[in-house]
C-alpha cells in the first residue's frame, strides 16, 4: 500500500531536472534494460511520483545497479531523461537516506 505524498516529487525536483512525470508507462525502458531489472526504471519513477520513500528504499539495489548506459533513454518515446532522473534519485538517497 502506498500513501500518496506529493511532497517527495517536489523534493526531487530541487536536485535537478526531474521529469519522470513525462513517462506514460509504455514499458520500452523495462524491455531494453541490459541489466534485466524489471523494476527499472518505470516503476521506480512511479514510486517517486507517488511519493513512496518506502518503496524506493526497497528498490535501492536496483537504483544503484543501473549502468547509466542510456539504452532506455535513447529509445524513450516521451523524452524522459532517465539517467538524469536516476542520478537525482541517487543524490536524494545519499543525502536523505544514508545522510552522507
Amino acid at each position: 500500500m502506498i500513501r500518496v505524498n506529493p511532497k517527495l516529487k517536489k523534493e526531487l525536483e530541487r536536485y535537478g531536472e526531474f521529469n519522470a512525470n513525462q513517462c506514460f508507462s509504455c514499458g520500452t525502458c523495462t524491455a531494453l534494460c541490459p541489466m534485466g531489472l524489471k523494476i527499472l526504471p518505470r516503476e521506480i519513477f512511479r514510486f517517486s511520483l507517488l511519493g513512496s520513500e518506502e518503496k524506493l528504499k526497497e528498490a535501492e539495489d536496483a537504483i544503484y545497479s543501473c549502468l547509466l548506459c542510456r539504452m532506455c533513454e535513447a529509445n524513450c518515446p516521451q523524452g524522459v531523461k532517465i539517467s538524469e532522473n536516476i542520478r537525482i534519485l541517487r543524490t536524494y538517497f545519499t543525502e536523505r537516506v544514508f545522510k552522507i
Binding site: 502506498i2 500513501r3 500518496v4 512525470n21 516503476e43
Partner: protein, 575 residues
C-alpha cells in the same frame, strides 16, 4: 403477360459468381421461359461495354423490361436503373437478382445447390419484372423554411448557416436562454476560447438576421405533414400555440451531463464534485487557492474518469470528457501550479490534436493512474477528508491511497429527456437514447424520416467542434433540399385497393410513420396513405384482413408469382 418481352442478363462478376455458380446452366434454365426474349451472360455487367451492349439489345429487341442477376442491389441498382433509363425503359421495369452475396459467396461448399438456387432466384426475378408497373418517383414541393429545435452551439450554427442561404429559420429553445451545454463554460478546448463569448457572438448574429425567428421558453407540441411540407405546432412562452410551415426539421436538442446518484462515489458530500461543478468553482472562485473545502485549502485534486460512461447503464464513451478534464487540469496547473493533481483513468481518449492537452498535463506534473473496471477506485472518509483508494495497473497493481481535498467526478453525457419530442417527430432512438442517423459514415445527419435531420449531441456525445460540424452538415443537407424546390422519393409506398377496404383502421394503428389515416369518402370509410410519409415498410400489409393494402412494386400478385417461381418443381412444400 405473355406478350411481354424481357431480357435476362446473368453476370460472371469476373469469377466472383461463376467460380461457384454455373452461370451458363442458369442461363439455359431460363431461356425460352414465357416472356423471356433474350437470355445472355456477361463477364462484368457493370462495365461500360456490357452496359452499351445491353442497351443496344434492349433497343433492337424492343424489350419491355430486364432482369440482371449479379451482385447486391445496394451496389448497382442505381447503375442499372440509370442504364434502363438510357435504353428508354422505365427504371422500375428492371429487377436486380443477387446471385453473388446470396449464392456464390455464401455457398462456396456446394456449387450444385448454389447454381440451383441462383436459377430459382432468377426465375422469381423474371416474374417480378413481368409484373412490374412503370412507376415514377414521388415528387413533393418543399416549403422554404426550416425548423431548428434546440439553440445550443449546434442549433445556433445550423440556424445561422441556413439564414445565410436565404432560408427562413424558426429556432425553438425550451430554456429561457440560448447556449445549451457551453452557455456557462469559460475555457473550451482546444482553443481556450470562452464559451460564453462564443454563445454571445452567435446570439448577436441570430438577433441581427431578419430571417431567423427565435422562440425562447418554447416547445414543439405537434407535427403533421411530411418532407417538404411539415406543419409544426410550437407552444411559446406565453402559453399560446403557434403553427409553422416548414420544409425540413433539424433536431439539435443536445445532451445533459450525467449527475451521479446521491452517495455514488460519495457524491453530495463536501469536496466531491462533478466536472461541471468544478468548472463552476473555477469561474466563481478567482482565488481558487484559498477556496476552502472542510476548512482546508485545496492542495490535492483527484479526478475519477468514466463516471457515467462505459458502465452497465451507459455502454458508450462520452468522447469529450477526457479532454475536458485534462483541459481543466491544465487551467489549474497554469493558475495554481502548487496544486497536485491525480487522474484516475480507465483509458485516456484525447484523440487527434487533443493529445497535446494530455502531453501538456503530463509535463506540468499531472499524475495518471490507470485502474481496471474490475477494481474501481473507492472513496473513504477520514473524518471529513476524502481518501481515494485505487489499484494502479501501471505498477504491479499497487494499492494507492490519495488524500484529496477535492475529488472531481469526470462525468459523461446522457441523452436529453426528450420523450415527448421523440413521440411527436417519430424519429428512431438508439439503445442508449440518442437519436439515430441512417448510416454513421454515408448518411450521418439524416434520419429515416425524410426531411428530419439531426446534429450535435442529440445524436450522441460530441465535442463542441464535432457538434458544429454535424450541425452545419445537417444545415447543408436541409438547405440543399429546400433550395432545390422539390424532393423525389422512391415510389415503393403502400396503396389501398379501395374496393376491398372497409375502413376498419387496423392499418392505421400499426404504421410507425403515421402515414395512414381513415377518412370518410362518399359515405364509405377508407384508409388513405400519405405517400410522402410512407416508407413502404409494409406493417400494414399483413395486418389487413381484407388484403386491401399492398406495397407498390411488391403487389400481392407480384409476390405470389415470385413465390410460385421460387418453389416451382416441388410437389408439396407444406408437407
Amino acid at each position: 403477360m405473355s406478350e411481354q418481352k424481357i431480357g435476362v442478363f446473368i453476370c460472371h462478376c469476373g469469377g466472383n459468381i461463376s467460380d461457384y455458380v454455373d452461370v451458363e446452366r442458369v442461363r439455359e434454365s431460363v431461356e425460352g421461359l414465357p416472356g423471356v426474349r433474350v437470355a445472355k451472360t456477361n463477364m462484368f455487367s457493370c462495365s461500360d461495354a456490357a452496359q452499351e451492349e445491353m442497351i443496344s439489345i434492349i433497343k433492337k429487341e424492343g424489350l419491355d423490361g430486364i432482369v440482371i442477376a449479379s451482385c447486391s442491389p445496394k451496389l448497382h441498382q442505381n447503375t442499372f436503373r440509370a442504364m434502363a433509363k438510357r435504353a428508354g425503359l422505365n427504371p422500375y421495369k428492371y429487377t436486380q437478382v443477387n446471385i453473388r452475396e446470396q449464392c456464390s459467396w455464401t455457398h462456396t461448399h456446394n456449387r450444385e445447390e448454389a447454381t440451383n438456387k441462383a436459377a430459382r432466384l432468377v426465375r422469381a426475378g423474371i416474374q417480378k419484372t413481368l409484373h412490374a408497373r412503370a412507376l415514377e418517383p414521388i415528387v413533393t414541393k418543399t416549403h422554404p423554411a426550416v425548423l431548428v429545435i434546440g439553440a445550443g452551439i449546434a442549433g445556433m450554427k445550423a440556424a445561422i448557416s441556413l439564414s445565410k442561404m436565404g432560408i427562413n429559420v424558426h429556432l425553438v429553445e425550451k430554456e429561457k436562454e440560448v447556449g445549451g451545454l457551453i452557455r456557462d463554460r469559460e475555457s473550451l478546448f482546444p482553443t481556450g476560447q470562452d464559451g460564453r463569448q462564443i454563445v454571445r457572438g452567435l446570439f448577436e448574429k441570430i438577433k441581427a438576421a431578419d430571417n431567423i425567428n427565435l422562440y425562447l421558453g418554447a416547445s414543439v407540441v405537434g407535427k403533421r405533414g411530411s418532407v417538404g411540407d411539415f406543419s409544426v405546432d410550437i407552444r411559446v412562452s406565453n402559453g399560446e400555440t403557434v403553427s409553422l410551415s416548414v420544409g425540413a426539421i433539424i433536431v439539435t436538442t443536445g445532451a445533459i451531463p450525467y449527475r451521479p446518484k446521491e452517495g455514488q462515489w460519495g457524491y453530495g458530500r463536501p469536496g466531491i464534485v462533478t466536472l461541471k461543478e468544478l468548472l463552476g468553482m473555477i469561474s466563481s472562485q478567482k482565488e481558487f487557492k484559498y477556496l476552502r473545502v472542510n476548512g482546508r485549502e485545496v492542495e490535492t485534486i483527484t479526478y475519477i474518469y468514466c463516471v457515467g460512461s462505459r458502465d452497465k447503464e451507459h455502454t458508450y464513451c462520452s468522447r469529450y470528457c477526457c479532454t475536458a478534464a485534462i483541459h481543466t487540469s491544465n487551467i489549474i496547473h497554469d493558475k495554481w501550479p502548487e496544486i497536485s493533481q491525480f487522474h484516475l483513468f480507465r483509458d485516456i481518449r484525447t484523440y487527434g490534436n487533443y493529445e497535446e492537452e494530455y502531453k501538456r498535463a503530463l509535463s506540468r506534473g499531472s499524475i495518471f493512474i490507470r485502474f481496471s473496471p474490475k477494481t474501481m477506485p473507492e472513496i473513504e472518509f477520514e473524518g471529513e477528508r476524502p481518501v481515494v483508494k485505487v489499484s494502479d495497473l501501471l505498477t504491479s497493481k499497487e494499492e494507492i491511497e490519495i488524500e484529496s481535498d477535492l475529488i472531481c467526478l469526470v462525468t459523461g453525457l446522457e441523452p436529453s429527456p426528450n420523450r415527448e419530442l421523440t413521440d411527436i417527430l417519430k424519429i428512431p432512438v438508439g439503445k442508449e437514447g440518442f437519436y439515430n442517423e441512417i448510416h454513421p459514415k454515408l448518411r450521418p445527419v439524416e434520419t429515416v424520416v425524410d426531411g428530419i435531420f439531426i446534429g450535435g449531441c442529440a445524436q450522441g456525445p460530441k465535442t463542441s467542434q464535432e457538434s458544429t460540424i454535424s450541425a452545419m452538415a445537417a444545415a447543408a443537407k436541409a438547405g440543399a433540399m429546400i433550395l432545390t424546390g422539390s424532393v423525389k422519393m422512391e415510389p415503393f409506398v403502400a396503396e389501398v385497393l379501395s374496393e376491398r377496404c372497409d375502413g376498419c383502421g387496423l392499418c392505421e394503428g400499426v404504421c410507425p410513420y403515421g402515414a395512414i389515416s381513415i377518412k370518410e369518402d362518399s359515405g364509405k370509410k377508407i384508409a388513405i396513405i400519405n405517400e410522402a410519409l410512407c416508407k413502404g415498410e409494409g406493417a400494414c400489409v399483413p395486418i389487413c384482413p381484407k388484403e386491401a393494402l399492398q406495397i407498390r412494386g411488391y403487389e400481392h400478385e407480384t409476390i405470389c408469382s415470385m413465390i410460385d417461381a421460387l418453389i416451382e418443381g416441388y410437389e408439396d412444400v407444406s408437407s
